[in-house]
């Protein structure tokens, strides 16, 4: 993060009310704190000492094993998915200049969902890698359908129109997923994937998914400066010498990776990609060189928080994490719609 000190120069063109690096340090401290809390609290009560031993020693006991094999992969998954969804949402909002862009709202999640159902139905015994690939393809198809509908009509890319197209396409794709599930009598398997949230996340799943999310996030960071220019105005971006088609194509692939991998890991999860970038912009401004790294931190914190609430609010039952996120996200969505109508039109 060597570039950070450029933003913190004394005579600087950035407004620096609170030192930017301080904001990132606070973010990281909050992340570590949230991670510790989510490790300690849950159906099986454990102590902070157990957590410490599970992470940094080779000591074995029942509660430590629960932490290592159940809770730790789950919380790592929460952080990965939170970061992936937040970054993909930030990229989508930047490229489309649509404040309502979110992989869950623009057909990517439902596309991955439908592809997952179809692949489970047609390829019995499909392995996790196959499912992941199916999710990528599905996410791409969903996105292309939504933006295809937008492209048909002039002005179809307006924020609300695209969200309407997203809602219609999502309803269609969910219906396909349900239909396939019922027809092939695999509804239970499908919903176990798509509505299961973080339950039962294993280390082997993480091993499969992490490289995709990792690469996606690294590429997003490398292209963050291009994204800032692109988010300003496309003609300005061309004038400044950006290869806009190339940049947008790479970013599209990154979004597909991040959103598809998230669905393969936790199933449906709307609103994370919508909420986090808006919160982050209020903290670090409109430069994607700062928005992307801060979205990684904030997305991870949000998912840890939602998962911890889901696990503890109604012990011994789990409240689905997607429901927790939706309860937080919906009011947020409405606020952005109200504000977005004025600011972005």
């Amino acid at each position: 993060m060597g570039f950070l000190h450029y933003f913190c120069r004394k005579d600087n063109i950035m407004k620096t009310s609170i030192h930017l690096s301080l904001k990132f340090v606070i973010g990281l401290i909050l992340l570590i704190a949230m991670f510790s809390i989510s490790m300690v609290y849950g159906a099986a009560s454990t102590s902070i000492q157990d957590v410490w031993q599970a992470l940094f020693t080779h000591i074995k006991s029942d509660s430590i094993n629960i932490l290592r094999e159940l809770r730790l992969p789950r919380e790592v998954a929460a952080m990965l998915v939170g970061a992936a969804l937040a970054v993909s949402g930030a990229i989508m909002q930047g490229v489309t200049r649509n404040p309502l862009a979110d992989p869950g709202l623009l057909g990517l999640t439902s596309g991955a969902n439908a592809a997952l159902a179809i692949s489970l139905a047609l390829i019995p015994g499909i392995n996790y890698f196959g499912i992941t690939i199916a999710c990528f393809i599905g996410a791409a198809v969903g996105a292309v359908m939504v933006f295809g509908i937008g492209a048909v009509k002039k002005g179809g890319f307006s924020p609300l129109r695209i969200v309407l197209a997203g809602a219609a396409v999502s309803a269609f794709l969910y219906a396909i997923a349900d239909g396939v599930g019922i027809y092939f009598e695999i509804s239970k398997d499908v919903s176990m994937w798509t509505a299961g949230g973080l339950i039962g996340t294993s280390w082997s799943q993480l091993q499969m998914i992490t490289p995709f999310i990792g690469i996606g996030i690294v590429v997003a960071l490398l292209l963050s400066r291009q994204l800032t220019i692109l988010s300003l105005n496309e003609e300005v971006a061309v004038g400044l010498g950006q290869k806009t088609i190339q940049t947008k194509t790479i970013l599209f692939v990154v979004v597909i990776f991040l959103a598809g991998a998230s669905v393969a890991l936790v199933g449906n999860m709307a609103f994370v990609g919508l909420m986090v970038p808006h919160i982050v912009r209020a903290i670090v401004g409109t430069d994607y060189r700062l928005i992307i790294p801060m979205s990684i931190i904030a997305g991870a914190i949000l998912m840890l928080l939602a998962d911890t609430i889901g696990r503890t609010i109604n012990i011994p039952y789990e409240t689905p994490v997607a429901a927790i996120i939706a309860i937080m996200g919906l009011p947020f969505f409405l606020v952005v719609v109200r504000k977005g109508g004025r600011v972005f039109q």
Partner: protein, 263 residues
């Protein structure tokens, strides 16, 4: 020798051609203004010359090279574009926005060099926007905002600057302010300026070279005395214009006009 020209340029969206076989030479270090009625293809022409949209056939040539094939980053060091009414720069400060003009000179994460800072400060100074440096762009008035966007184009340090209707939505005083700024840049910094203007009298007053377009073709190109005439305006705008001489600038001006009847 003319550095920038188009050669039989045709531009169209889909099947329909908006500009047909257009050849125009842009004089170096002069102010060139493109005029014409709505839908005549003047903005389209500007966008095609600056590679924002691709053209159908023909070529745009800059320094002997085909713009369509030239490296876009090299072009960004030679020509800057200010699109028509850029969207709001939500949340950006003036300094940040102007710093993006340095984009073609940066690599990687784009840390600004000492030179970059100097150029940014210079661009702010020339456009008289230094005092807004730390203010959000959105908090400025229309005229101030336009000057800030021009500062960004200036920070690009290009010899040619294109502007698409830079005076739209500005009141009379602010229109003049922007045009005088461009004139200063032309005279003092020797920048070549190419712009689309709606107002004929402004075009006559500030342009060294006027290109009058109609239906995607040039009706007349030349000095303002050659182009701002009764005949040309009749052909281009379908108006019966009364041309006089501006008592202050001695440039031709359209004093009054009527719509042509019976055609």
């Amino acid at each position: 020798m003319v550095r920038l020209y188009t050669d039989d340029l045709s531009i169209g969206y889909g099947e329909q051609l908006i500009v047909k076989d257009l050849s125009v030479q842009i004089p170096n270090q002069k102010i060139t203004t493109i005029i014409g009625p709505n839908g005549c293809g003047k903005s389209t022409l500007l966008k095609a010359i600056t590679r924002i949209i691709s053209h159908h056939s023909g070529a745009v040539v800059l320094d002997g090279k085909n713009v369509a094939k030239e490296n876009t980053k090299i072009l960004a060091k030679k020509m800057a574009i200010l699109p028509q009414t850029p969207e709001s720069a939500s949340g950006l400060t003036v300094g940040e926005l102007v710093s993006y003009g340095r984009f073609p000179y940066q690599t990687g994460f784009g840390r600004l060099s000492k030179k970059d800072y100097e150029v940014i400060d210079w661009a702010l100074q020339v456009t008289n926007t230094s005092s807004f440096k730390y203010l959000p762009v959105d908090s400025l008035s229309g005229g101030q905002r336009q000057r800030v966007w021009i500062a960004m184009a200036l920070a690009q340090e290009t010899e040619i600057i294109f502007l698409d209707e830079p005076t739209t939505y500005l009141d009379m005083a602010h229109q003049l302010e922007v045009l005088e700024l461009l004139q200063r840049l032309n005279q003092q910094e020797k920048r070549t300026i190419v712009m689309v203007l709606h107002d004929l009298n402004q075009a006559a007053r500030f342009a060294d070279y006027v290109v009058a377009l109609k239906s995607g073709q040039i009706v007349k190109a030349g000095s303002c005395e050659e182009v701002i005439t009764k005949e040309v305006l009749r052909d281009v705008f379908n108006i019966d214009a009364e041309i006089g001489i501006d008592p202050r600038t001695s440039k031709p001006m359209c004093i009054t006009y009527d719509l042509l009847k019976g055609e």
